[in-house]
């Protein structure tokens, strides 16, 4: 087994007495696509935000490429090579699509020309090139989600965290987004994706990690995980037969 890219151990995220994440572990190896799934309120997004440095976990530790990043700020995470998208896209509304991406590209390329070249390459790569000069606010949800991914890629990450990047898309849009994620992966970028849509996890993820009530209840190959009785129970509840008094 190679050295893990990301290693999160015993992550706890408490809000008052409520533990949204309650001792979750996750190890991600270079080149993997890991899917985080689980019912609503399972703590996926909270866990995800801890990985991105958005919120310092109450307890636990996170290491990226052997370096402790538990308490690092979001901007330090990005600098180290962890980029992310948001569940609800937050594009820079007053800028054009190309300018949005430029903000990200400036991180590794302080000079305008080099940054602009990077932007052109990534707009082509993500299929946003025809919209380069359009204001970001003119985009719909699929466009925004794609722009966020493009912008995150501009920071040249080694690990990309996608938070429901495919939710709210039509089936056609989902297919093209899956195709995009595959091409991102083939650039050598490791991915962690949070997704509700089982089809996405089944087709994309090498490994699925299932959250329920703040804990990891199952992990493994996506096909096996979805057949796991614990997972079915987490999604659908216990079977009626067993609930009936004997």
């Amino acid at each position: 087994m190679p050295e893990p890219l990301l290693e999160a151990l015993g992550i706890v995220q408490a809000f008052g007495n409520f533990r949204a994440v309650d001792g979750a572990d996750l190890t991600v190896h270079p080149g993997e696509i890991v899917g985080l799934i689980g019912p609503n309120g399972a703590g996926k997004s909270t866990f995800f935000n801890a990985l991105a440095g958005d919120r310092i976990p109450t307890a636990g530790s996170i290491r990226f490429e052997g370096r402790d990043v538990t308490r690092a700020t979001p901007e330090e995470h990005c600098r180290l090579g962890i980029a992310r998208s948001f569940q609800v896209p937050v594009t820079f509304e007053d800028m054009t699509v190309a300018e949005n991406v430029l903000v990200g590209a400036f991180l590794r390329h302080p000079h305008r020309d080099a940054a602009a070249a990077k932007v052109r390459e990534l707009l082509e790569f993500t299929g946003l090139a025809p919209l380069a000069e359009a204001p970001a606010r003119s985009l719909g949800t699929p466009g925004r989600k794609r722009l966020e991914i493009c912008r995150a890629l501009a920071t040249e990450p080694r690990l990309l965290l996608l938070d429901e990047a495919l939710a709210g898309l039509t089936p056609t849009e989902i297919r093209s987004a899956i195709e995009l994620v595959r091409r991102i992966h083939s650039r050598g970028i490791t991915l962690i994706i949070v997704e509700h849509i089982m089809e996405v996890i089944l087709t994309l993820a090498h490994r699925a990690v299932v959250f329920n009530q703040g804990r990891v209840i199952a992990a493994g190959a996506p096909r096996q995980v979805v057949d796991d009785p614990k997972v079915i129970e987490a999604y659908l509840g216990r079977s009626l037969q067993r609930k009936r008094p004997r």
Partner: protein, 340 residues
């Protein structure tokens, strides 16, 4: 390219206008417009580009003005020699005020800057060294050319134009560089900016320092021309509000927006003063209030964005007209599939 040409045209206009207008009253207003444009453009760096709406910039303006008159009254130096002192004190205060307040967002940041500015104003009002509530005076008669005390407004006009040109040149360069984009990203949203590796607090502080330095310089120039400063005239909240309104009226976060705002508001203020005299000072507040309301309600992006908005509006109307001309109304709006 079009912008470069527009910039050159404005530059030529600024340089030649006072020669065309031989009336000293108008030349003086021209000088005041440029002076106001310097502080509004300085405010624009942090308030416009970075979107951190400071309502406490009077602090830096006041430090510049007081420094000029302080080196004159205590040391007998020409007032302009107070500029480095004013800039230095302002940078220090900016770091002191900015570091804690930049952790606040939106209105809370604005309110904190008001509080800081009022605190400084009250301190100065009770400080004998700075003349307390009475204020400080500049040289009554020019002792040498270094006092920059001129009988005609033209030298001031060109002095201010020079400083404004340096500031706008710097802003133009910044706007095209990484710093400009990162400030606009901060304006667009802290959280997204940080996720892209933008060191948000550090860049807000850079922008504030640059802004405070030039605002202090504007304060010094004001004291040099007017020869007088008291807590109300250079540290009052109206000083801060004017910078904000000028920038917002013309277009906050645009290169020439503050200059346009100053070119509209300064003559307006001079006119109300001329018409209503001393009894009309309250009118200024009423007009500013009305302007704030109108900008906020109808044109938050300022007047410079108006042509683009009109073009977009005409384009939409044409598109609608084309739609209406079609034989059948086609339902093209596909509902967002929520089939997850």
């Amino acid at each position: 390219m079009k912008r470069t040409v527009a910039g050159l045209v404005i530059l030529l206009l600024v340089l030649l206008l006072p020669l065309a207008v031989q009336n000293e009253f108008y030349q003086r207003i021209g000088a005041l417009v440029l002076l106001a444009a310097i502080s509004a453009s300085a405010w624009n760096l942090i308030g416009g580009y970075a979107g951190q709406v400071s309502v406490g910039h009077a602090v830096y303006f006041g430090m510049g003005a007081y420094s000029a008159l302080l080196v004159y009254t205590r040391l007998g130096w020409p007032p302009i020699a107070g500029a480095p002192l004013g800039v230095a004190v302002s940078l220090l205060l900016a770091a002191l005020i900015g570091t804690p307040t930049f952790r606040l967002r939106g209105h809370y940041f604005s309110m904190a800057t008001i509080a800081a500015a009022e605190l400084i104003r009250i301190l100065v009002s009770n400080w004998e060294l700075l003349g307390a509530a009475v204020g400080l005076m500049g040289p009554a008669m020019p002792r040498s050319v270094a006092d920059l005390s001129f009988t005609t407004p033209l030298p001031y006009y060109y002095l201010f134009a020079g400083v404004l040109a340096v500031l706008l040149g710097l802003t133009w360069w910044m706007q095209r560089s990484r710093m400009g984009y990162w400030l606009r990203a901060i304006n667009g949203g802290d959280r997204a900016a940080r996720s892209l590796g933008v060191p948000v607090l550090r860049y807000k502080l850079y922008a504030l320092l640059l802004s405070a330095g030039f605002t202090a310089l504007a304060g010094t120039l004001y004291a040099v021309m007017i020869g007088f400063a008291d807590p109300e005239s250079v540290l009052g909240i109206l000083v801060s509000v004017k910078m904000l309104i000028m920038a917002a009226l013309g277009g906050a976060g645009t290169l020439f927006g503050p200059l346009l705002g100053a070119a509209i508001l300064v003559p307006l203020e001079e006119a109300t003063n001329a018409i209503f005299g001393g009894s009309g000072t309250g009118i200024t507040y009423v007009i500013y209030g009305a302007i704030i309301l109108l900008i906020a309600r109808f044109q938050p992006e300022g007047l410079l964005a108006l042509p683009a908005r009109l073009r977009a509006w005409r384009g939409r109307r044409r598109a609608r007209a084309a739609d209406a001309a079609r034989p059948l109304p086609s339902a093209t709006a596909a509902p967002d599939a929520e089939n997850a």
